[in-house]
Symmetry: C2
Subunit: 527 residues, 2 copies
């Protein structure tokens, strides 16, 4: 049952007088539940509880953390229909998507459970002593990864489950041993509260300390700002707009003790289509990309917002095919009136830029909050001259840049901002475009061959992140088990007594994890 209250650790609390409701964009009405925004007192209490919880949670064994993470997954599944209904009511997204995203969320939690249960993720490294070394004896040094401390996670508007309350950031931080305070996304506060209740039940069942998790309601920037500035908070995870992510990054950097912010922000995910591919399969590519551009009403951070190709008859044919394919696709609902409002404003702004042509624009009358698919084209020279054309339009929009030649294509790539992904579409010709490929690699976190950027596989080899502004720290990924590295730091023990070392570093290797011992990768004990 949704109460509209915050979770301050295990306790529900609603001390404030600022309230808000969520919105059903399909029905174009407010939902019934009333959510109470967290007060400063509640924020401080959540941070204090998290700080206390950290003292024990940081040393909880991997096996027990795995029980906790799996219990969260179980409790989320137990929410069953209520969760799916609330999700759809608050996002306008269809039930199939809700269930798919729930599956992804549960998979992520179980992946991190497996990771910490096995235990080798701490990258244990041991260099044994050499007392007789000349000129100086060598001490015994043993290193492992330890959690940073309490982490704030901001829920994402476009993934109410997989990148929100119990999403990738939370799962990774809890797996690392960091208590988590979620700043709930106001567009899906009910979904957030339900998932928070699942986490709290799991924490109680698994015997985790009170304060290991809190969920704070907030309709504006105030709660998030107080959290990020609180000296008890040691890191921040965010998925959303460049403006939002950059504001948090600036706040964190200006603290007396600066803290890391991992913000996964906007991206236009350039797709480069090579001449042979255009010639051989303009029609099928147009169909594929019409689907990718409109997937989830274009509300994926990997949405292909920029298509780059060299001018040719084949390109003209592709553009007209893409224009006709995309308007065949049934329009769909956006997440919230504010999101559709921004989409309409941004598409109009784009359409008004000099030299830009709108080649496909769904003209039929649309249901309220439904998005019109838009395809536009521009000359390469114009694109280079006007950086407004480089900005993301969040929604089912894409811009085809018609380049004069490969040199102009390379120049355009070199001028792009950092991106999550780039895609190369090529038919037996990629080997001729090594500068294009190198240029793309320099600007992105992931390169895709002959596919679409939408769809982010959750696996160890995934990189979801990239040069700024794709993310605020390209040295980490936001998806996959290695995203745990955002929330940990290396720590060394020197000449420490074996019995006082954490199990991961003890001579006898009681956890039987993989370690580097004197440079050799082994799961053996040390004699």
């Amino acid at each position: 049952m949704i109460t509209g209250k915050n979770y301050i650790g295990n306790q529900q609390s609603a001390k404030g007088n600022k309230t808000y409701k969520t919105f059903n964009p399909q029905l174009n009405v407010e939902n019934d539940n009333i959510f109470t925004e967290a007060t400063s007192e509640e924020i401080y209490e959540a941070v204090n509880l998290a700080t206390k919880a950290f003292k024990t949670f940081k040393s909880v064994s991997g096996k027990r953390k795995a029980v906790f993470l799996n219990a969260i997954a179980d409790e989320i599944l137990a929410l069953d229909d209520e969760l799916i209904k609330t999700y759809c009511m608050e996002s306008g997204l269809p039930e199939g998507r809700a269930k798919g995203e729930r599956g992804r969320t549960v998979f992520q939690l179980r992946s991190f459970a497996d990771l910490v249960k096995e235990g080798s993720w701490v990258e244990a490294s041991i260099d044994t002593a050499q007392p007789d070394r000349e000129p100086l004896s060598k001490p015994d040094l043993r290193k492992l990864l330890i959690p940073l401390g309490p982490v704030v996670v901001f829920g994402a508007s476009n993934f109410p489950l997989a990148y929100s309350t119990a999403g990738g950031d939370t799962a990774a931080a809890l797996a690392a041993g960091c208590p988590v305070i979620v700043k709930s996304h106001p567009m899906h506060a009910g979904t957030g509260e339900l998932v928070a209740s699942a986490i709290i039940r799991a924490a109680e069942k698994a015997g985790m300390p009170n304060g290991v998790f809190s969920n704070l309601n907030s309709s504006g920037i105030n709660v998030g700002e107080q959290l990020v500035k609180h000296p008890g908070i040691k890191a921040v995870g965010f998925t959303g707009s460049i403006n939002g992510g950059r504001a948090l990054y600036n706040m964190a950097a200006q603290r007396e003790e600066p803290i890391p912010v991992f913000a996964e922000m906007g991206s236009i995910n350039p797709v480069v289509i090579m001449p042979n591919a255009l010639k051989n399969r303009a029609e099928s590519l147009a169909k594929t990309y019409a689907g990718s551009i409109t997937l989830g009403t274009g509300q994926f951070c990997t949405n292909p917002g920029l298509l780059l190709a060299i001018k040719s008859d084949s390109l003209s044919h592709f553009v007209s095919e893409l224009a006709s394919e995309i308007i065949k696709i049934e329009p769909s609902c956006m997440l919230h009136p504010n999101i559709i409002g921004a989409y309409e404003k941004n598409t109009s702004k784009m359409a008004s830029q000099q030299g830009l042509s709108v080649v496909a624009d769904y003209k039929n009358k649309l249901q309220t909050n439904y998005a019109r698919q838009v395809i536009t084209t521009v000359e390469g020279k114009t694109f280079l001259e006007n950086t407004n054309l480089h900005q993301e339009v969040f929604g089912p929009f894409s811009l085809v840049v018609q380049c004069e030649d490969v040199n102009q294509l390379e120049t355009i790539i070199s001028r792009l901002e950092g991106q999550l992904t780039a895609t190369l579409i090529a038919d037996n010709e990629a080997q001729n475009y090594s500068n294009v490929i190198a240029g793309l690699q320099n600007r992105v976190g992931r390169l895709i061959f002959n596919g679409v950027p939408t769809g982010v596989e959750v696996c160890p080899s995934m990189v979801h992140g990239g040069p700024y502004p794709a993310s605020t720290d390209s040295r980490f990924t936001a998806v996959g088990i290695h995203s745990i590295k955002r929330w940990v730091r290396p720590f060394s023990f020197q000449d420490w007594p074996n019995e006082l070392l954490p199990d991961e570093l003890k001579n006898e290797n009681p956890l039987k994890i993989s370690r580097h011992v004197d440079g050799v990768h082994t799961n053996q004990k040390i004699n």
Copy 2:
């Protein structure tokens, strides 16, 4: 031969009209060589060359980078007496230290050469495709670490070789595939130029692109500021004061594209001495710590500036022993008149703080630029009330805090700023102080048992870094092979053709490196 010019890539250049000299603190005279500060034009040229060099250097094989790094080591050794003499003339440090530090520098370069020659450091991870997976086929994803781009390294005043021109930051960045521009430290510009000449000779012999390395002279903050703000620079390494490091961090965070700054800054390296240890071996501990506090005239970042213990007769005895031992040690020269000036100012400021007692203070007349060893004591309560007492005094100074009881000791530890190290001195009693140990772990990067913090072993299990302000990013170490991770980011290829993948990710594993393939650690090829 020292020319006083900058290295803009392979070319020597001195277009500016601002010049300066280095200083011999032992003789208290300026050295003869005249150094010309880099101009804005030269700075831009260095960044442009580095940006061009990156295009090829990022793909240079590990074997060829190893040849380059080993050649740097060889060329540094070939500088022989001229380097050692210049080092001593510009630092006031003795010949033995110069040779020791040269050995460390060469060892670091060769360690990184071995690392990149072997090749597994890129953390190659491969998840093979599952075309038949339901409901969606799984793509092939392959990940590795790639270099960030051109890096700026700031030379450190206190390690003219090991943390300067060809020091740990430079060696790690070059190993990663990042071109390096060094902002030479003005106190040892001659040492810097000689080492730069060695790097340039090595780059030419190893066939590295022009611009892979530049060395810029600078007597103030202007050159460093222009470098950090230049959009071509992608990361910064710094070792020095909190004020200096924080200023660079702020500049980098305020850029349109923020970049990572790894600054290793101040630390007072708390040492906690437990009651049994004080009772059993106050005299030997006093002797050991008198040595550690004065080592290198107290100019190590791991210098023990804070000793914490619970009040007892044994503690009083230890304090008087420490006081008498430290004035037996022959005073030594500091690096520069500015450094000794700051030391004298800071010790006077400390001595004037209410409640602080100076118990040992070398009273004999000293040679110019030589430092007086100072030991001070204060009550735990006073220390808690006055955060001026928590500040680093760079030099042979230490403060003994006499705590009322273990609770006050724990409180003090919890209030300390982030530190590089903490040391626990205990005799069969550590198991009784788990809160003390947990509290220390929370504030530092490395915990030492029954030793001294001075001495930073270069090995994979070392962590040199820690919570702010020990460093600006505790998620990385500045020492050891893993310091390479500061300068790289993960990158994924999705469904990429085998022949176009980098060798590290090809099916046939031509480099025979260790990789994670579908979750299994292996050096086998993929069939």
